[in-house]
Every structure is written in C-alpha cells, then in structure tokens.
C-alpha cells in the first residue's frame, strides 16, 4: 500500500511538470504547425529568471511563479516576433523552424552559461518541509507543484474551451484560412499562443528546478520527454498531451521503483515505439494530422 502511494505521489509530481511542458509544446504544434525546439530553454530561462529575482529581492514562491510565467511568456513573444513570424508561410516552414528554434535554444543555453556559469545553483524558491501519508513522505514542494500545474492547466482548458479568445485559437488551429475569413488575425493568435505556451514552460522550469538544481542544460531532458508525450498523445492534441503526461509519469515512477530509476526513460521510449507501431497517429490523434 505504501509503495502504491509512493508511486502515485512521485508520478503525480513528475506528471505535473511534464504536463506543463508538453501542453504548451502541443499547443504550439497544433496552432502553428511547428516543433519548438527552444521549448526546453523557455523552461530553463523561467527557472533562472525566477532564481535571479529571488536572490535579489527575496520574493515568496507565489511571486516567483508569476516572474517565471512572465519570463516564459516574454521569451515566447520575442521568439515569435524576431523569428517565427518571418518564416510562417514559407516553403518547408516545418523543417526550417525546427532548425531555427534549435539554434535559438543553443544560443540561450550558451548565454545562460556565460552569465551564470555551469555551477548547479539550488533554487531558493523551493519550499521546505513535508508531511506523511501513512509511512510515505510527501514534500510540501510536491504538493505545490501538483496544485500549480492543476490550476494552470484547468485555467488554460477554460480559456480554450469557454472564451471567445480560446475559440479563435482553436479555430485557427483547425483551419487557419477559415478562421481568417471570420476576421481572426492569425498573426495575433500565433503571438498569443507563443506567449501562453512560454508562460507554461517558464513555470515548468521553475518547478523542475525546485526538484533538482539550476543548470543551463536542465531543459534538455524535460523537452525530450515533452516531445515523447506529444508524439504518444498525437501531435497537436492538447488534451491528449495533458493526459499522457500523467500516464507516462506514473509509468516512469512505477518502473523506477520496481526495476530501477535508470530504466524509467528507456521504458518510456519502448512504450512510444509500441504505441507508434499500433497507432502511428498517436493515442488521441485523428487519422488526418492537423497540418496547417
């Protein structure tokens, strides 16, 4: 029983971080049709900016979350304005933007390395303390991570499903030209999506850094896992990405516990291969991929 509780708690904590990372990635793919290879660095940047502000002003975690969100949104907006905007609608957009965002990711990573150095700083915003469920230790930080992810993801779901703003995003993702014929400015929608996804990535980065340390490379692993999650869910399927994030995280936690932590990720990859053989379009993907 304790083992089960432990696995669920580890899985939910991991899943919360994966979900924050992959929902944004999926939203960008679904709307713009682009793989954002810089998404991992959006996370890293969120973590570092929150760290810097926390060190300088000693802010509480709540403000740190806001700062990480703002930093992520800002880098998303800048990426769109200086790069993606000019590439939209060009031939081979998908490939070009993949290479370009990968380049941007390397650039940000090197800049962070230059500014902060490679030293693995601890995240000062992490909350100390724990409670127990039975004999299982639950850190307050894990509870916070889960609560923040839940609130933000439900918030994004509400935005997408219930508001005029969200309807325009979904319409643009489903049929860009038709949305434009309704008077939607596709460019503005893309900018908003980049900001929204960047915001989620920034928080994801902050949360990941509270579980380990800050380092310029910290975004690489969660980016890879977010990609895996998006592919398993079906590219561009935002709801599927959220669900798969928790599913795969629980699997990773279970395998980590029963077989060994280092087998968690290989097991995820094997599962991906099996899923893609069985359903090449992903678990929640439709037969016809939403290519725009």
């Amino acid at each position: 029983m304790d083992v089960a509780i432990q696995i669920v708690i580890t899985g939910l904590t991991l899943g919360s971080m994966y979900a924050l990372a992959s929902v944004g990635l999926s939203l960008i793919y679904g709307t713009l049709g682009m793989f954002n290879m810089a998404h991992g660095l959006f996370m890293t940047l969120g973590a570092y900016v929150a760290y810097s502000v926390a060190v300088a002003f000693g802010i509480p975690l709540v403000l740190g979350i806001v700062v990480a969100m703002a930093a992520g949104a800002l880098i998303g907006i800048v990426t769109h304005l200086v790069m993606v905007r000019f590439m939209l609608g060009t031939a081979d957009f998908g490939t070009n933007v993949l290479v370009a965002t990968a380049g941007l990711g390397i650039l940000i990573e090197d800049l962070l390395l230059k500014v902060y150095g490679g030293y693995p700083y601890p995240q000062p915003l992490a909350v100390e303390g724990f409670t127990r469920i039975g004999r299982v230790t639950v850190t307050y930080q894990a509870v916070i991570i889960f609560a923040v992810a839940l609130i933000l993801i439900l918030g994004v779901a509400w935005l997408l499903l219930k508001t005029r703003f969200g309807r325009a995003i979904r319409a643009t993702a489903l049929n860009r030209e038709a949305a434009m014929l309704m008077g939607v400015k596709a460019d503005t929608v893309f900018l908003q999506v980049m900001a929204l996804a960047g915001m989620l990535a920034g928080v994801a980065g902050l949360m990941i850094s509270t579980q380990a340390t800050l380092s310029p490379q910290m975004g690489g692993d969660p980016l890879l896992k977010a990609f895996v999650i998006c592919v398993v869910a079906g590219l561009g399927n935002v709801w599927g990405a959220g669900l798969c994030a928790f599913g795969l995280a629980l699997l990773e936690a279970a395998i980590g516990f029963y077989i060994g932590v280092r087998f968690g990720f290989p097991a995820m990859l094997i599962l991906v291969i099996l899923v893609l053989i069985w359903r090449p379009q992903g678990l929640f993907g439709s037969e016809k991929v939403v290519r725009l």
Binding site: R164, R167, G183
Partner: protein, 238 residues
Amino acid sequence: MSAVLSCSGLVSGYLNRPVLHGVSLDIPQQGVMALIGPNGHGKTTLLRTLSGFLTLRDGHMSLNGTDMNRASVHARVESGLIHVPQGDQLFTEMTVEENLLMGAYLCVDGAEVSNRLNEVFALFPKLKDRRNQMASGLSGGERRMVGIGRGLMADAKLLMLDEPSLGLAPLVIEQIYEALGHLRQSGMAFLVVEENPSRLLSFADSLCLMDAGHIVWRGTAEEAKSSGDILKTYLGGQ
C-alpha cells in the same frame, strides 16, 4: 443603383500563373448576382482575390467607395465583405454553435450575437437541434447550412457564396436555395458562384459568365434565357 463592390481590371492569380486577366464587375447594393462559368476559369480565384488571400497585381476594387486594393483579410471582413468558401471549411472539432459563434467573431456585443444566432436557427431549424454536436459528425447538407449560417453571423454588406450546391443531393440543394430565397428578402447583397447555372437562372437578378479569366457576358436572367447561345457555348447548353 450604386454598387456595394466595384472592381475594375482585376489581375491576380498564383505565382507564375495569372488566372484573372482584367475582371471588371459591379455588384449592386442588394439582390443576387450570379457568377457562372466552367471549372478552372477563375471563379474561386476571383473570390479569393476579393477576400484578400491573393494579392491584386493590377486593377482596383472598392467596397462602398472605400479603397480595398491593399486591405488585409481581416480589414475586409471588418468592413462587411464576407466569403463563404467552397467545401464549407468548417471547424470540424468544434460544435455547430461554436462554429456559428466564430462567424460573429468580430462582434463583441453579446446580445447582438445571440440575436443573430437565433436568426440563423430560425432559417435552419435543423442546426438548433444539432447545436451541441461536433461539426465533423454532420451530413453534407447540414455542413452547408453551418457554412452559410456562419457567414450570416457576420455583419455582411456583401455575402459571397462559393458553390453552395456543390456535392449535395438535389433535394438538399432545394432546401439550401429555399433558405437563400428567404435571405434575399433581407435586402442584402449576394454574389453566388456556381458551375451549373440551371438553378441560378431562375434565382439570380443578374448573371455574369466567366471564361478563361475574363467576364465574357453579363445581363439579367431573362436576357440569358433568350440568348441561349451564350450559355450553350460556354456551359454545354441547357
């Protein structure tokens, strides 16, 4: 009567292939103008040029006297130039109601939006029953109704319909045209594009015949019927 949309000498098309070679067209403030012609002769290209997806290489167009040559798609929708595209282009993973609400995207007045929604439901009662159903699960006729209804949700000065009868069973075409018949009484301006003129001959106030990127003939439906040679030459006869 003054024109809601005047075009003169429109030249446009795709990268190395101009499709329109100088199209001049005045669309009256109200009533139905039909644009007919065989496939691949520029009817859809003309609509895509008018709605701003294709850049004008030459010529001039104005909506109610306002120059529209370089206006964005958004600006044209905002000034009431509404294009219901060929093949519906619905938002398939959205409900019927959400699709219709997207049509009124630029209207932020909630009461006005629900008024328009009720008008569309009055015109197509079937859509009211299906309002919470995904658009992907609709029949061809119902999709067409959503497509047209979505266009009606906008504050249109000119509603351009690209082949409203395309791919529908004759009985369903009847229903669609019956609804369009109700609409024409609203006093709005319509530009209806069809490949097959048989229905439009009795429906439109005026007709334009398009061939190889030119408008080769225009006149009233009566004139078209009496000079049957024209239609026979271009469309294989009636």
